[in-house]
């Protein structure tokens, strides 16, 4: 006798029959009828018409029948609110039943009936049940508060249920505690400001005790709640960690991952020197690996989280590479995730194994997976330099297979390898060219064209190859067209004699026959460059290309830190903060990793992010300033760039590379173009006849997007100060300052003769100093300096002198000689004169570098009394070569991510936090640099620039 009989229907209306049965006198028949009703409900059939008849069956001693009726009520009460009232009396009565099971059932069901009128009657029974002597009833009631809150939040607050719920955290029964925590967490999620889970060491202690005794699900709630707590110091963090670690051995993977979250978060507070820190690291690996032997769905979620953990703390899993090896019958979503993690873990130590695996994968059946595997080989080559050679030969082997998509993927990655290791593997070009015909995907075609253009001088028939592409120019995708244009221009610059016709053809195709504005604009730029100044064109187009970065797809550090706080949640699966995707948003609280606070240090109030950021506003990646332009132009393939374009002399402001490497550098922000002298007012003759006024205006429109971002004005110049008083130098007074203008540093000196005799024969010398500053020219005082005369001299400096570390770092010892004597003085130069013009880092590179620099190297400063907004700060700093790479708004604070480079190649990365509403106008500055000793001086530079 099975339940399938309930599905059989008769010809005469089913509902009609059920109605009759429900009103039958026989108990048994009634029950059978209710079962039929429930069965219909399970398949989504509408049986709401039977509402009054079913409710009539509610008053019964038979628990099963009662449960069934309750099930029905929960589903349909909402659609029949007036009828539902009929049930209230029974509910209230059941809440007084001597059997705790029935009390709990009644209060539970009442909470599920989402009808306002019923909720009013619910309050009294609920209050009683929350204080019931039986813990089973209490724990059910705790959940009921959350249900009620969902229906009518105000009512719950007015009735004081929240306080009762908070009291339940101290309940003697661990299950009650767990449910109270779960209910409070759910309520808190919808009211982030309510501060419901106000955790303190006492309540934490209670939670930790309950943690050991409650069910697995309760453990998850408690662990997730613990993760929101910020311990007051490292000692407390450690003691919590110690009590949470046993959870790592739980059979339920959700418990394990929640425990991992707590540990990953609190670990941030522990000093790396602690023995315990090392122990904890070791303990984290096995449970994570164990998750990978579970069902594929669990594996997937685990892998997405491991991806985050590996980025944050690669040391945890660095020896576990093998568990990420792919089995041929893994589901595709598991395979792709494993591959991603394999590349992140690839290092010199394990590269041989990894490559052998990747090669194996490249012969699998699944096309997506094969493609990703081939790409991964390229990424290995770029990441682990020692393996590059082997990777290239593996790729060549794969190209030999002639499997179409493998060949195409391989060519795309080989292009990146060429970028990373120029002039090393060009011998393979011949092999690549053999496969030209089989390429049908735009990305592969574009990559191949780039290679041909880049190495045009080594490929004898480069012109023929490119010409063959030109035939179907208009059918190609934009990235191929752009690439082809650039490649042919490169070819022309390299072999001008034979390819004039070709270049004209492509320029006219691009400018006259194309509807694509990007293509037209690039065509015009080349055309004008070529027709006005071929030498400049050469320097622009064939300029040295910036290196590409090793890591790709890295998550921005602050986002990564936030995501670490969300391990195990949906956010961790999507790698986005919850605010970016949770329905309704409801003001999600942003979480941040706790700052490290040693117990010995003064306990500064830990920085907890306040709530209230408007939902949906926060972008999930840093938008670069140049995004607008980037969107317009960066349509072609672009490997990540590791450095900014290099400045050359012919075009001011370092605009150089933007056309040459062609690919990615177009993302460079606008200021680079403005003031390119040839563009502003091209001599009419130079403009090809076909380029009329509309084109010119088109171009300037493009430039308008960016104008005003940067100007030519140099960096901030401090007023002259007296360096050498006349007293000390027999009447010679020297005051001066340092300036930096358009790439050159100079020392502006003012020499005053306060003696009674004429001074001649001036000379200047610098002692060795930290950055190798040295005069680039002799000190030239043309006429003898007569008494009381003052002369202003600008002494050009370079940074190629000998280097010796000074104390302080920016100390400069100078010797000045004249016909009277030699005088010595020392001065401190502001560091910003050393900030070079190409100090703008690529975003990807920034992320990678920020992550790469150890946290110990981070220095925090505060700049007080700086009433500027983010725009002003950014433009002010930009004129001193501190470049804003990205800006975003987090919880009302403006965050600026900036980079700068010193003349000796040291990069300094900065994160600037500006709070517009802050009355004290304090700007927080975090600096990260591989040479932390410069941070202090960079901070001083920041302060001087911002305050002037």
């Amino acid at each position: 006798m099975t339940d399938s009989k309930y599905f059989t229907t008769t010809k005469k209306g089913e509902i009609f029959e059920l109605k009759a049965e429900l009103n039958s006198d026989k108990k048994e028949k009634k029950k059978e009828a209710v079962k039929k009703v429930i069965a219909s409900m399970t398949v989504g059939k509408d049986v709401s018409a039977l509402f009054p008849d079913v409710v009539n069956c509610m008053q019964t001693d038979n628990l099963e029948l009662k449960k069934l009726v309750y099930l029905y009520l929960m589903n349909y009460a909402k659609s029949q609110p007036d009828m539902a009232i009929m049930a209230v009396n029974t509910f209230v009565k059941d809440c007084e039943d001597p059997n705790p099971l029935i009390r709990a059932l009644a209060v539970r069901t009442m909470g599920c009936i989402r009808v306002d009128k019923i909720t009013e009657y619910l309050c009294e029974p609920l209050r009683k049940c929350l204080k019931d002597e039986d813990p089973y009833v209490r724990k059910t009631a705790a959940v009921c508060v959350a249900k009620l809150h969902d229906i009518n939040a105000q009512l719950v607050e007015d009735q004081g249920f929240l306080d009762t719920l908070k009291d339940l955290i101290s309940d003697s029964n661990p299950m009650v505690v767990a449910n109270a925590v779960a209910a409070l967490s759910e309520i808190a999620e919808s009211h982030p400001s309510s501060n419901l889970l106000d955790l303190n060491p006492q309540s934490i202690n209670k939670l930790l005790t309950a943690l050991n005794e409650c069910t697995e699900w309760g453990q998850i709630f408690i662990l997730d709640c613990l993760a929101n707590y910020t311990p007051k110091d490292d000692r407390e963090a450690q003691s919590i960690c110690e009590r949470v670690t046993p959870r790592l051995s739980h059979a339920n993977s959700a418990v394990v991952l929640s425990a991992v979250k707590v540990l990953m978060k609190f670990m941030e507070m522990l000093s790396k020197d602690l023995d315990y820190y090392g122990t904890l690291l070791k303990k984290l690996a096995p449970p994570l690996v164990t998750l990978l032997s579970a069902e594929p769905e669990l594996q997937y979620v685990a892998l997405r989280n491991i991806n985050l953990i590996v980025q944050k703390r690669p040391e945890i899993l660095k020896h576990e590479m093998k568990v990420f090896f792919v089995k041929y019958n893994d589901p595709i979503y598991v395979k792709l995730e494993k591959l991603d993690i394999m590349i992140r873990l690839a290092s010199q130590a394990n590269i041989a194994q990894v490559l052998a695996e990747l090669k194996e994968y490249a012969t699998e059946v699944d096309v997506d997976f094969v493609r990703k595997a081939v790409r991964a080989i390229g990424r290995c080559a770029i990441k682990v330099e020692q393996s590059a050679e082997r990777c290239v030969s593996t790729l060549l082997d794969l190209i030999q297979t002639k499997v179409n998509y493998v060949v195409q993927e391989a060519i795309v990655v080989i292009k990146d390898i060429f970028r990373k290791y120029p002039n090393k593997y060009e011998s393979v070009i011949a092999t690549l060219c053999e496969n030209l015909d089989s390429l049908d995907e735009p990305e592969a075609r574009a990559a191949m064209i780039w290679i041909v253009g880049e190495y045009a001088e080594r490929i004898d028939n480069a012109d023929e190859l490119l010409e063959s592409f030109l035939e179907g120019f208009h059918d190609e995708s934009t990235q191929v067209q752009l690439q082809l244009l650039t490649a042919i221009v490169k070819l022309f610059l390299k072999k001008p004699t034979e390819t004039q016709e070709l270049v004209q053809q492509v320029l006219s195709l691009a400018t006259q026959d194309s509807d694509n504005p990007d293509l037209r604009d690039r065509g015009y730029i080349y055309w004008r460059l070529l027709s006005t100044d071929p030498v400049a064109a050469k320097e622009v187009v064939l300029a040295e290309k910036p290196l590409i970065s090793e890591e790709t797809d890295l998550i921005e550090p602050t986002l990564l830190d936030e995501l670490i706080c969300y391990i195990g949640t949906l956010a961790s699966v999507y790698h986005k903060p919850p605010s970016a995707f949770v329905e309704g948003g409801r003001g999600v609280v942003h979480k941040s990793l706790p700052p490290r606070t040693a117990s010995s240090e003064s306990t500064e109030s830990p920085e907890t992010a306040p709530a209230g950021a408007p939902p949906g506003e926060q972008p999930d990646v840093i938008p670069a300033q140049g995004d607008l332009l980037g969107d317009l132009l960066n349509l072609d393939l672009g490997p990540p760039v590791s450095g900014p374009p290099l400045a050359t002399t012919s075009v001011q402001m370092g605009a150089v590379d933007l056309l040459g490497g062609g690919l990615d550098s177009l993302v460079c922000p606008g200021p680079l173009w403005i003031g390119g002298p040839n563009f502003v007012a091209p001599p009419a003759a130079a403009v090809p006849a076909s380029l009329g006024a509309p084109i010119g205006s088109g171009l300037s429109d493009l430039f308008d997007l960016t104008s005003g971002v940067g100007t030519l004005s140099g960096s901030y110049v401090a007023p002259k100060a007296v360096w050498l008083p006349a007293m000390k130098a027999k009447g010679l007074e020297i005051s001066g300052t340092f300036t930096r203008q358009v790439g050159s540093i100079s020392m502006d000196l003012q020499l005053t003769n306060k003696a009674l005799q004429v001074m001649t024969d001036f000379a200047i010398q610098f002692n060795r100093n930290s950055f190798g500053l040295a005069p680039a020219a002799p000190l030239q005082v043309h006429a003898p300096l007569s008494p009381n005369q003052t002369v202003e001299i600008s002494l050009p400096l370079n940074t190629v002198g000998s280097v010796m570390k000074m104390e302080p770092l920016n100390n400069l010892q100078v010797a000045v000689k004249n016909n009277i004597d030699v005088f010595y003085f020392s001065t401190l130069y502001p560091l910003h004169i050393l900030f070079v013009e190409d100090g703008k880092m690529d975003r990807q590179m920034f992320l990678a570098t920020w992550k790469d620099i150890p946290n110990e190297n981070e220095a925090q400063f505060q700049i007080r009394d700086c009433p500027l907004n983010a725009e002003a700060v950014s433009s002010k700093l930009q004129s001193s070569n501190i470049f804003t790479i990205a800006k975003r708004n987090v919880e009302g604070q403006d965050m600026l991510y900036q980079s700068l480079k010193l003349t000796n190649g040291i990069w300094v990365l900065a994160e600037l936090r500006i709070q517009p509403g802050n009355p004290s106008f304090t700007v927080r500055l975090s600096l990260k640099c591989r040479a932390p000793e410069v941070s202090q001086h960079v901070y001083q530079a920041y302060e001087t620039i911002l305050k002037n």
Binding site: D3, S4, Y6, E28, K31, T42, V43, G44, N62, L63, E64, K67, L68, L71, N75, K78, N99, L101, G111, C112, Y136, K139, M175, A182, E186, E189, T215, E216, W217, I220, D224, P246, S249, A251, A254, L257, S258, P287, T290, E295, E297, K322, V323, F325, K327, P331, Y333, Q353, A356, E360, T363, V365, V403, G568, T569, L570, P578, F581, V582, E583
Partner: protein
């Protein structure tokens, strides 16, 4: 928390829905069907799917999809674990987790789901608690119920529900008191073309079948507990005892349960019991290929390897295979291109082999990929890691139980690349 659950069969029919909060329309499953269509293979449907207003988290088990609908930020593992628990419970109650079984017991299923989750929070998921609340169907009971009018719903509060040992019910009584343990180890391995091990680890479990009266307190000790450094425990195990003494001390649940699962990964500890010699080649420009595999014993610790099955996913261009096995039977399914060879036992005197010709689609290019061999085998009376139970002691009860330990080693995901 979990909002709703839909059960969907392979042909895409939603045959059961349950809502714990307000009703979510079935149409939400369209997003799931869309993803299913895209995935081509049922096993490749991504477990987390986002839709404009909800998230769908699904598992695929026993040819059924369990699709849950959630609306707020919820740990996906929590949901997936719970869904597996639901499937386990169905299995436990109805003997199988299939569409037919669920449809036959739809009311019990509904009652169970209601008992397992309240407002999206798990309520009772322990099998023994559920069984006290809702009795599993038996033919006898349904007959008795229909005569006496009693029900299969328990009307008292389950005793384990709130105690510190929720996994055990009170008042258990057996005439024969028994405690049996199965140590089952599965070898996951990837063997490369040349026969060397790319990756190998042992996934072990100790499953227990405990039928002991009263409140027995057991401790299980091992000869070599140091092997177990990566373990997951059933909640009944006292972690502190394990940490300090390496002894498993616990009050067991009643009946069958998994006591621990563990992983042994250090390469030198993982013995590979079989080797495979293979020669699979396809000739260029001809419509046939050669297929030749031989299996032999390697580090088998002197035990017989039995229950050997080899499955091979042949490339798509393979039309048919003409093979001769020296022992066992083989089948080739020309639709799924799966070759299955049921080998049986290995006798070292005469190694089993399977040889013959492969017919390819004429004119198609020679397949690039080499098929991987998936090997299944079983070795009785052996835990390949060398794990050995030392003794089992019982405290708290006076009677003398029957005790027993069984060892078995199996192939898990054991793949040989060719």
């Amino acid at each position: 928390m979990i909002h709703s659950l839909f059960l969907i069969n392979c042909s895409g029919d939603i045959f059961l829905e349950k809502h714990w909060k307000s009703v979510v329309s079935q149409s939400v499953c369209d997003y799931f069907f869309e993803a299913q269509e895209k995935a081509a293979d049922v096993e490749n449907v991504p477990p987390v799917i986002s839709t404009p207003h909800h998230y769908l988290i699904s598992i695929y088990r026993d040819k059924l999809f369990f699709v849950s609908v959630i609306q707020t930020e919820v740990p996906p593992l929590f949901v997936i674990e719970f869904l597996h628990r639901v499937a386990d419970t169905f299995q436990d109650y109805f003997g199988e987790c299939s569409e037919a079984a669920i449809k036959d017991n739809v009311v019990i299923v509904y009652e169970l789901l209601e008992e397992m989750l309240d407002n999206g929070f798990p309520l009772a998921t322990e099998s023994n608690i559920l069984k006290e609340l809702i009795k599993p169907p038996t033919i006898l009971r349904s007959v008795v119920n229909s005569i006496t009018g009693s029900s299969n719903v328990g009307d008292t509060l389950p005793t384990g529900q709130l105690s510190n040992i929720p996994w055990r019910r009170a008042g258990v009584k057996y005439t024969n008191n028994e405690a049996y343990f199965d140590v089952v180890e599965e070898i996951d391995a990837i063997i490369d073309k040349s026969g060397s091990t790319v990756f190998a680890e042992i996934q072990g479990v100790i499953d227990a079948c405990i039928k002991l009266s009263g409140m027995p307190d057991l401790s299980l000790s091992f000869m070599n507990p140091r092997l177990l450094d990566d373990v997951s425990f059933h909640p009944c195990i006292r972690f502190k005892r394990w940490e300090s003494e390496r002894v498993l001390s616990f009050i067991p649940p009643d009946g069958n349960f998994r006591l621990i699962s563990y992983r042994v990964s250090s390469q030198n500890l993982v013995a590979i019991p079989v080797y495979v010699k293979h020669n699979i080649s396809f000739k260029e420009n001809s419509s046939c290929g050669r297929f030749d595999i031989t299996i032999g014993p390697k580090q088998n610790m002197g035990k017989t390897i039995e229950g050997i099955t080899v499955t091979v996913h042949m490339p798509k261009v393979v039309l048919n295979m003409n093979l001769t096995p020296t022992q066992g039977n083989y089948t080739f399914d020309p639709v799924t291109k799966v070759l299955t060879w049921d080998v049986g036992k290995i006798t070292p005197q005469k190694l089993p082999s399977l040889k013959g010709l492969v017919n390819l689609q004429s004119g198609a290019p020679k397949p690039e990929e080499n098929p991987s061999l998936n090997i299944q085998f079983k070795i009785q009376q052996l835990a390949i890691s060398g794990l050995k139970v030392n003794r089992l002691d019982m405290y708290g009860e006076k009677y003398k139980p029957f005790k027993g330990v069984k060892y078995v080693t199996k192939a898990g995901k054991f793949q040989v690349r060719t």
